[in-house]
């Protein structure tokens, strides 16, 4: 069996409908190597952000990803508030609670979305449809709190853009109560189903050491037994004022990743409930003006892991430098470990199990070649592009 074939997944993923390219080198059904090629969707968000003033950037980074559309603006406003002395100091209490509620609602909707997709990937379309059906009420909750189902436009520097109505609190609690039985249903359907266990247990294992080596973050890391969570390690919002647990699983296989995400949804429900109980009355916006000179950092635990924003300000109304690192960028590369050695059937779900979000990731390209492990960073790409421009110029002149 030395006859290698290449099974292409991409450049346009047939299921995730996102631009990425996995080349699986297969011998029969067995995956012996994998090339991960991203960089099909470079949008130049960081560059764009340097041309906009701070209030506009919050809307811009919201559009990095439609799924984590509160994580990116949250991390961005955290970075700017860092210049003012830190979120906890400048932002009014009520706004902190509202921010936490939106952040956790987003986690629930993102995990449900992934759960549905995971079902679809292993050919279990009923789970797919059910997960997305129960995601609808979560989107309704979003509409109630933020006015939008996606792209919430909720975060602004110094607070939030929209207050939570007094009468909405009990309704949100009731909707959460109705949502929990659905969550129980999934816990039963996924965690006790023997066929699902047969498909997911022991598949795509990322050991603790491998997880550390490949720098994975978020549920992908927590499913491999690494106890990290920005919400606890460097609390923002009101995460240090509510009672919740970091879900850590040890096995590192896809089943553990699934379980970790399902259990995290329960924790999110707990957090939102406590926030709704404790939320104080008061202002929602600190009316911050004139961003001071300096460098600020914002870290947020997005549904996929740590989302990092860096802002450099020179005192004008625009950031001089805005750097973003999305969680999927760290997680996608770990597929090199997870998918190799399994069968094609396993590879599909393994590639999806890190909950890859390409629209977050696509701001720099990494090319992993099977033979020489060549890695290209943004600067190499710029050089390539400059060389190409030079070449084209010469050709056009000639």
């Amino acid at each position: 069996m030395s006859h290698k074939i290449i099974v292409p997944i991409g450049p346009y993923h047939p299921l995730q409908e996102e631009p990425e390219f996995f080349q699986l080198y297969c011998e029969g059904e067995k995956v012996v190597d994998i090339d991960i090629i991203i960089g099909y969707n470079h949008r130049g968000i960081e560059q764009l952000s340097e041309g906009k003033h701070y209030d506009q950037v919050a809307f811009l980074v919201e559009r990095i990803c439609g799924i984590c559309s509160s994580s990116h603006p949250y991390a961005f406003v955290l970075a700017v508030e860092d210049l003012f002395g830190g979120e906890q100091k400048v932002v009014p209490e009520r706004a902190l609670y509202i921010r936490t509620i939106v952040d956790e609602l987003q986690r629930i909707h993102s995990h449900l979305l992934w759960l549905g997709l995971a079902g679809h990937f292993i050919g279990y379309n009923t789970v797919w449809m059910w997960a997305w059906k129960y995601r609808e009420p979560v989107l309704d909750m979003f509409e109630m709190t933020t006015g939008n189902r996606n792209s919430y436009a909720m975060f602004k520097i110094g607070g939030v853009r929209r207050d939570l109505k007094e009468e909405d609190g009990p309704i949100l609690k009731k909707m959460l109560d109705e949502f929990v039985p659905a969550l129980d249903l999934f816990r039963g359907a996924v965690m006790d189903d023997p066929v699902i266990q047969a498909r997911l247990k022991g598949v795509g294992i990322l050991t603790r050491q491998q997880a550390i080596d490949w720098c994975v973050v978020g549920p992908t890391a927590r499913a491999s037994g690494i106890n990290i969570d920005v919400r606890r390690d460097e609390p923002y919002g009101v995460y240090n004022r509510v009672d919740w647990n970091v879900v850590v699983e040890k096995e590192g296989d896809i089943f553990a990743k699934t379980v970790a995400r399902i259990l995290e949804m329960y924790e999110s429900v707990r957090i939102i409930r406590q926030c709704l109980d404790k939320i104080p009355k008061g202002e929602i916006d600190a009316q911050l003006r004139d961003v001071p000179v300096g460098e600020g950092i914002g870290r947020v635990e997005a549904p996929r892991g740590e989302c990092f924003h860096y802002i450099k300000s020179d005192g004008t109304n625009r950031p001089v430098r805005h750097k973003i690192r999305a969680p999927s960028f760290m997680n996608v590369a770990s597929n090199k470990v997870g998918a190799v050695g399994g069968s094609i059937s396993d590879a599909t779900i393994t590639l999806a199990a890190v909950d890859p979000c390409y629209c977050c990731t696509e701001r720099v390209a990494v090319i992993n070649k099977a033979d020489n492990q060549k890695v290209m960073n943004g600067w190499d790409l710029i050089k390539l592009s400059q060389e190409k421009t030079e070449r084209l110029k010469k050709e056009l002149k000639a």
């Binding site: 050919g123 279990y124 009923t126 498909r199």
Partner: protein
């Protein structure tokens, strides 16, 4: 001359190709509708499968470079062979007296042809994904044929015949095989095998759109693809009907036949919608392990007269 025309009618119109495909497409609609309702969707109108096929007939046929002849003829091989099986089973149901000795074995062969046709067609398309799909289909055949043959053997032992007509008359006189231990076990085995033969989840491994993007069918388009879809529809008619003949063959009033047909159909649909797709090695060990053991138990029980 009249006899030839009559046989042609049986084969092409009723209860063979035309009728079988029509019912199969309707059954396919039931499948889509029930699936949709299970998933809180609305589902298509009843004629959806018919217009889908009609649309495919109007599409361009793209033939990959390579073995064009086998690529184009393979779909018809599967479809026409399966039509013959449908005609034989249908005729035996209408009039048990006309069936011929050994037609059970003929049907066994004919029912394998759609899968063989898929393998031939996929292999001649020279697409790597199709070849993966063809390999999976091949392994799947090896998996489910053994227990399927044993399930049929159980029936043959119990009725003492390999003729559909006598199997039916035996059940008319002594009650359906389903009501005996060996018959019930053999029916469970046959349902699993039929699920795999029809390529329904958890055994839609050779197509697996999420993994190999349609696998065996990836290069097909236009009329050849439509013929493969028709073969699928015809399978959806033939397999439940065969199970009715083999295991629930007592009351042959048309209404009862329709009722039993629908029962089998619903069982297939429910299995399909409550299971994720298995990996090919898991499917193989499932068929060669528990299912084969069950089938063996059925054969032994049948030999003991239970």
């Amino acid at each position: 001359m009249m006899i030839i025309l009559k046989e042609m009618f049986y084969y092409f119109v009723f209860p063979g190709l035309l009728f079988g495909t029509g019912i199969g497409l309707l059954a396919g609609w039931v499948d889509r509708k029930v699936t949709a309702r299970l998933q809180w969707r609305v589902g298509p109108p009843w004629y959806q499968n018919f217009v889908d096929i009609l649309k495919l007939f109007g599409k361009e046929t793209i033939v990959p470079r390579g073995r064009a002849a086998t690529f184009l003829l393979a779909p018809y091989l599967g479809f026409l062979s399966l039509g013959l099986a449908a005609a034989i089973i249908g005729r035996a149901l209408i009039n048990p007296a006309v069936s011929f000795a050994g037609d059970l074995i003929v049907i066994l062969y004919l029912l394998t042809m759609p899968a063989i046709a898929l393998i031939i067609g996929a292999s001649s398309s020279r697409n790597p994904l199709a070849s993966v799909g063809a390999g999976r289909e091949m392994k799947l055949i090896l998996g489910y044929e053994l227990p399927f043959i044993m399930a049929l053997a159980t029936i043959a032992i119990k009725s003492g015949s390999i003729k559909l007509g006598s199997i039916l008359t035996y059940q008319l006189n002594f009650g359906s095989f389903f009501y005996s231990w060996s018959g019930a076990i053999a029916m469970v085995v046959a349902i699993f095998c039929a699920q795999a033969k029809m390529g329904f989840a958890p055994f839609e491994i050779s197509e697996a759109e999420q993994e190999i993007m349609g696998g065996v069918l990836i290069e097909y388009s236009g009329i050849p693809l439509a013929v493969f879809k028709l073969t699928k529809a015809l399978l959806l008619y033939t397999m439940p009907l065969l199970l009715v003949v083999l295991f629930l063959g007592k009351d042959l009033h048309p209404l009862f036949i329709i009722g039993k047909f629908v029962i089998f159909l619903v069982i297939f649909i429910l299995i399909k919608n409550t299971n994720p797709r298995l990996r090919i090695d898991q499917a193989m060990s499932f068929f060669w392990g528990p299912v084969s053991l069950l089938a063996l138990a059925a054969v032994i029980l049948a030999l003991m007269g239970k």
